[in-house]
Amino acid sequence: MQRFIPARRLLSVTKYYLRRQRRCFSQVAANEVDNNDGFVPKIPSFDYSPPPYTGPSADEILSKRKEYLSPAMFTLYSKPLNIVDGRMQYLFDDKGRRYVDAFGGIATVCCGHCHPHVVEAIVTQTKRLQHSTSLYLNHAISDFAEALANKLPGNLKVVFFTNSGTEANELAMMIARLYTGCHDIISVRNAYHGNASGTMGATAQSNWKFNVIQSGVHHAVSPDPYRGVFGSDGEKYARDVQDLIQFGTSGNIAGFISEAIQGVGGIIELAPGYLPAVYSTIKKAGGLCIADEVQAGFARTGSHFWGFENQGVVPDIVTMAKGIGNGIPLGAVVTTPEIAAVLTRRSYFNTFGGNPVCTAAGLAVLKVIEKEKLQENAFVVGTYLKERLAALKDKYDLIGDVRGRGLMLGVELVSDQKLKTPAKLETVHIMDQMKETGVLVGKGGFYGNVFRITPPLCFTKEDADFLVDAMDYIMGKM
């Protein structure tokens, strides 16, 4: 009797053997030729050569960084990469070697590095007017605000522009506190919302929290399907929020803030049913619901434009940054006219916020996402990639979990599948090896054992194959 082989595994195995037929190896991959099987995954072809680099070397830069920049500034990799050029989903180092950028400058470069339409918008506007402030009129800010508002459901149509995700979340928290007259805000354990005083409070990972006063924040149990105590039962986790309000506050709160998929926390999707239940609780307590879309927004999840749409809710305030400008320093807060009016009590002004260049870039980004159907691509390629990673999970015990949506994916490594012991060292090693093979991934999770895969949304199936094959190759040698 024939053994039943899962079709998926058969397909991946067949592909594996087909690729072994390949004769030519990339220039650097040749260094990694394994004498045993002679096969190294090859980076997909790409028709672009960066200009030759004549600037300072990696070592020179490193020594200047040590002297003039924060002592806490870290780099990835044992031998840090000097990245000098970028084009679409690829980055180039100082030797002209190309890498697949599977991290996207931390989920920031959504259209692709130096995407021509976005660069054109930036250059054209920079040559005309970089900055004048919103004290004067300029069409760039109003056009972009309109386009952005049109992407949001409900009555979410007043936009405040800031310069970063931290600024956006700080403003959102302040608005919620002013609107409700309450101070307490609830966020989710393992969340990341920023590094300034209010947002540091909302951020819920000790690595990012300094020993300073962070008042009025309560952290709810993380609805983590993989590690959470209630598995995927969103409603059970939601009860913790109810308890926090009833026992830890006056019963009325300013609001609740969460990411739809925790980014820094290791690509953790909130358990299904969590947000609808929590939003209902928050509303009953008079609070506002803030959706932090800094990483999950702008088509990244593939199935929807915004992360919160995956949970079937409509927040009161939405914050965004990172992908909004394909890398240009820009952030935004969108809320309803009713809530926005709260800022008229005094004056709020952001000097750089909404400047012509950044808003022109933002508008170009929205147009590119639509024209190039990047959301659909994120869905198709992301689904494919996740399937291949899931197949890899079946193959290697080291992979504890594969999760995420669209092109916001996470691979958690454990040294024991049952105990889910974080495989920190292995993660660092594999990440390093991935870079040697030509793939740049990110790292996250409280234990630093999760690969974060958040590439530019122009990522292709070939790129996905290369990524998985590289991971397979490396894990196979361990």
């Binding site: 020179e60 830069i61 960084r65 002592p71 806490a72 130096c114 970089q130 709020y348 400047n355």
Partner: protein, 487 residues
């Protein structure tokens, strides 16, 4: 002949009287046009509005939405809290050096530089080049990878600093910079109390709102332990220019209002939003001593005064002869790029290594390249000396104007960071709010875009791009003279 001469003399005298009329009429005599071209029907020279200095540049034709369309969209999509200047807001579509252009192609003298931000000049070619070239190579990757732009810029910036100030943190705005400075101060000292000056502006984020001390900008939110000390304001302060008395007040705040130890003290050397108020001479030296004895660190907010603007020195704090522990900057640092920085000593920086602090956009290649180009332009084009030169000319002419018009209560500042405070009564120093608003509009019609500040909105802030010339200064003062004469 004699009769003609007598008539001419009579007319000249009458006009001279009108010119020296001290009454301020709230209604302007109707004027048909305020074009920059001299009126052809001029009979006396002071009936002719002053003319913009010539400038050899043609703005591109503008085909975008009109001012009204933009305003309607702003009201709908940007909220009622986004305020703007002027009854009939200006649609500014292009900029070149110290000039701005509206949708009709009309040129204005930008005497406010996008709030002291466009330091080298709108679309300065060298900076433009740096930005464009870098944008084509790599916009963003974050500091988890290496890139030379951030390292080169940090080095260049640090080399501009005295003492042991050489560790640079890049952020995206002044508010972010001051937030970070506060965090550093509290971590380093282990104390909580921060001291800032009344009338200061340090940011609009939740913590910096605490440091900001102007009610217009302060939302009712918890601020933590902040002490707002008496402002050493030579014009309005109760002790005039007596720095020692003001410094004693800081001592009192510490001795009576805190545990005796504080986290830090922060001040602008010339208050910007507060109305170009220069701190009384000798103030910072004394206060820095007091604060350091209380274990606190001294933070200099150079967001507006930095980068040679004061003319006499590169940094505002240098005008007071002190060396701070932390320096924050933004605005002019990138000629308009969203960029901010905090510079401190390695000792203070080391406390930040306890945990992870990361700024995604901070130090990105494009902003760093732009910032480096700014430093080079300021040096190459000797902008600091230029600010001293043009600034003293400007202040000199404004002081003469002060002799002529009673409404000018005070002229102050340094280099190209100048303030003109208007009062209806020189003794009482009653803020001339309405007149300031009126003149503000009038100046725009004449072709000069000023800034406005002070708690009562009665101070003109003159802080142009640092390529502002003596001719521009003359035009500005002439326009002000003209406008005030018509009040």
């Amino acid at each position: 002949m004699a009769m003609l001469q007598r008539r001419l003399l009579k007319r000249t005298l009458e006009e001279a009287k009108a010119r020296f009329n001290f009454n301020c009429y709230p209604i302007l005599s109707p004027r048909a046009s305020f074009s920059t071209l001299p009126s052809s029907s001029a009979t006396a020279s002071d009936d002719v509005p002053p003319q913009l200095p010539p400038f050899d540049y043609q703005p591109k034709p503008y085909n975008g939405p009109s001012a009204d369309e933009i305003l309607a969209k702003r009201k709908k999509f940007l909220g009622p809290s986004l305020f703007y200047y002027y009854q009939k807001p200006l649609n500014i579509v292009e900029g070149k050096m110290q000039y701005l252009y509206d949708e009709s192609g009309r040129r204005y003298l930008d005497a406010f530089a996008g709030i002291v931000t466009v330091s080298c000049g709108h679309c300065h070619p060298e900076i433009l080049n740096a930005i464009v070239e870098q944008s084509k190579l790599l916009q963003h990757a974050t500091t988890i990878y290496l890139h030379h732009a951030i390292a080169d810029f940090a080095e260049a910036l640090a080399s501009k600093m005295p003492g042991n100030l050489k560790v640079v943190y890049f952020v995206n705005s002044g508010s972010e910079a001051n937030e970070l400075a506060m965090l550093m101060a509290r971590l380093y000292t282990g104390s909580l109390g921060m001291i800032s000056l009344r009338n200061a502006y340090h940011g609009g984020s939740s913590s910096t709102i605490g440091l900001t001390a102007l009610n217009t900008w302060k939302y009712p939110i918890p601020e933590g332990e902040i002490h707002h000390v008496m402002n050493p304001d030579p014009f309005r302060g109760v002790f005039g220019s007596d720095a020692t008395r003001y410094a004693k007040e800081v001592q009192d705040h510490i001795e009576y209002g805190t545990s005796g130890k504080v986290a830090g003290f922060i001040a602008e050397t010339i208050q910007g939003v507060g109305g170009a108020v220069e701190l009384a001479p000798g103030y910072l030296k004394q206060v820095y001593d007091i604060v350091r004895k209380a274990g606190g660190v001294c933070i200099a907010d150079e967001v507006q005064t930095g980068f040679g603007r004061t003319g006499s020195h590169y940094w505002g704090f240098e005008t007071q002869g002190v060396i701070p522990d932390i320096v924050t900057m933004a605005k002019g640092i990138g000629n308009g790029l969203p960029l901010g920085a905090v510079v401190t000593t390695p000792e203070i920086a080391s406390v930040m290594a306890q945990k992870i602090q990361f700024n995604t956009f901070g130090g990105n290649p494009v902003c760093s390249a732009g910032g480096l180009a700014v430093l080079r332009v300021i040096d190459k084009e000797k902008r600091q000396a230029h600010c001293a030169d043009v600034g003293s000319h400007l202040i000199g002419r404004l002081r003469s104007l002060q002799d002529k018009h009673d409404i000018i209560g005070d002229v102050r500042g340094r280099g190209l960071m100048v303030g003109v405070e208007l009062v209806t009564d020189r003794k009482e120093k009653t803020p001339a709010k309405a007149e300031t608003a009126l003149l503000f509009e009038k100046m725009k019609e004449l072709g000069v875009l000023l800034g406005k500040g002070g708690l009562h909105g009665n101070v003109f802030r003159i802080k142009p791009p640092m390529c502002f010339t003596k001719d521009d200064a003359d035009f500005l003062v002439d326009a002000l003279d003209y406008a005030m004469s018509k009040l």
